[in-house]
Symmetry: C2
Subunit: 248 residues, 2 copies
Amino acid sequence: MHDFALEGYHPGLSLDCVIFGFHENELKVLLLKMKNWDKWALPGGFVPKNMGVDEAAAEALFERTGLKDIFLRQFYLFGNPERNNADHVEKLVKRGVIQENLKSWFSQRFVSMGYYSLVEFSKVTPVPDTISEFCEWKPLSDLPPMIIDHEEILQRAYQTLKKELDDEPVWLNLLPEKFTMTELQTLYETILGKQLDRRNFRRKILSWEILVETGERRTGGRHKAPILYQFDLEKYDRALREGLKQGW
Amino acid sequence: MHDFALEGYHPGLSLDCVIFGFHENELKVLLLKMKNWDKWALPGGFVPKNMGVDEAAAEALFERTGLKDIFLRQFYLFGNPERNNADHVEKLVKRGVIQENLKSWFSQRFVSMGYYSLVEFSKVTPVPDTISEFCEWKPLSDLPPMIIDHEEILQRAYQTLKKELDDEPVWLNLLPEKFTMTELQTLYETILGKQLDRRNFRRKILSWEILVETGERRTGGRHKAPILYQFDLEKYDRALREGLKQGW
DNA sequence: TCAAAAGTGTTTCTTTTACACCCATGC
DNA sequence: GCATGGGTGTAAAAGAAACACTTTTGA
């Protein structure tokens, strides 16, 4: 356990990361179970004095997941003065989540930068941090009780994700390198919470010309082996320049 | 001039507001001319310890413009550790922009929350702050030299505005209560930087059913008097619930 | 009476939607 | 051989784009 204040972290600023993964046809979020307490928290951290905020967020993400160069984006600064109350810090100390000497650091007023991240579920190795007992994926549809305003932060991240999905193929970060059209469709249906027509879905996605067939198929199912597609970054960049989806 | 540190502001956190207005067929930004220095700055401020960050931004906006309840939205946290360098603070002191006793406050590493705001040009009474000589509208197409990373902040706000315009009728905040279809079209053309067909434009806007005719017309021009329209919030809310523009 | 901008409709083309049958695979 | 999901096309409808003439107003 570090002494945050002495080690030179930026004062009054924290980070919260909502890390989304897709597994078994569900959107899941990586959460931390607090020590000696039946409450869960978003992975987060603080910002070292000489590190950029985005950089610090990437670092925090790396520590919890073992992943680097991951989709990570700011979505909102939570700046309400009431969000980190004294009562909460008392509980942290009483339950032995943090030590007495860190109380003053945790008792500051914190403003928290919310990030959301999209990761490939199977690549993640969840690692708890110093204040948590374990680190686990939880389905968005069945969230455990969370500390302070973390549920609100999470929901806001989800809203942002849904919105971004309309503008950009951010979903690619949630899938493995090679995937079938049905897997992609299921992902869309899960995030949007509605069913889509299979033929129209395929046509629409392919019309963007950002996917290529790998030539391989996924075998093993008791049915026709589906084509495996791959995201083509170069084609995507070109599509972006030409305006993938524009309002006017 | 206040002593920020003593008066209890949140440490290491600043605000920058990009305030957009529309005048004479141009998008303009409200900027502050620094004292004794040929550099301009975005209006901004700091966050009182007991005030929410959004609230503090609204307060800063009010002080520069005299306006309350204005469209104001976060767009990015500028968290690069290099952004506020020692050299810049030296200059501020040497040119008498800030007094010696504030040097330590201004020498902190600041993380700055970027806000953008849309206001009705004619309602604004620009008021300089303590570190500026005057406060003025500057056209986006001809910006003066600005301090540190303020030009970057401004450009990023503009990108955000363009993007939001596709999703929501944020433009309503830039226009007076009553406006003609041509004025609205000019606004769109200005922000998007391209010409639009008059008939199609009108049809598209009206199809959203968020405007109503006031029954009045604007007279005085040497041409047919155009109908004045008004934004209808109630209709807009209804349209939003039904999904004004959805991707899927 | 003229210049300047306002108002208006139709046709074409593109995009989106709805919908059903045959195919490959593993058991 | 059969159950399961994979792959594919077309017609109808909706939406977007292109395009030009008449009207009102003030000078």
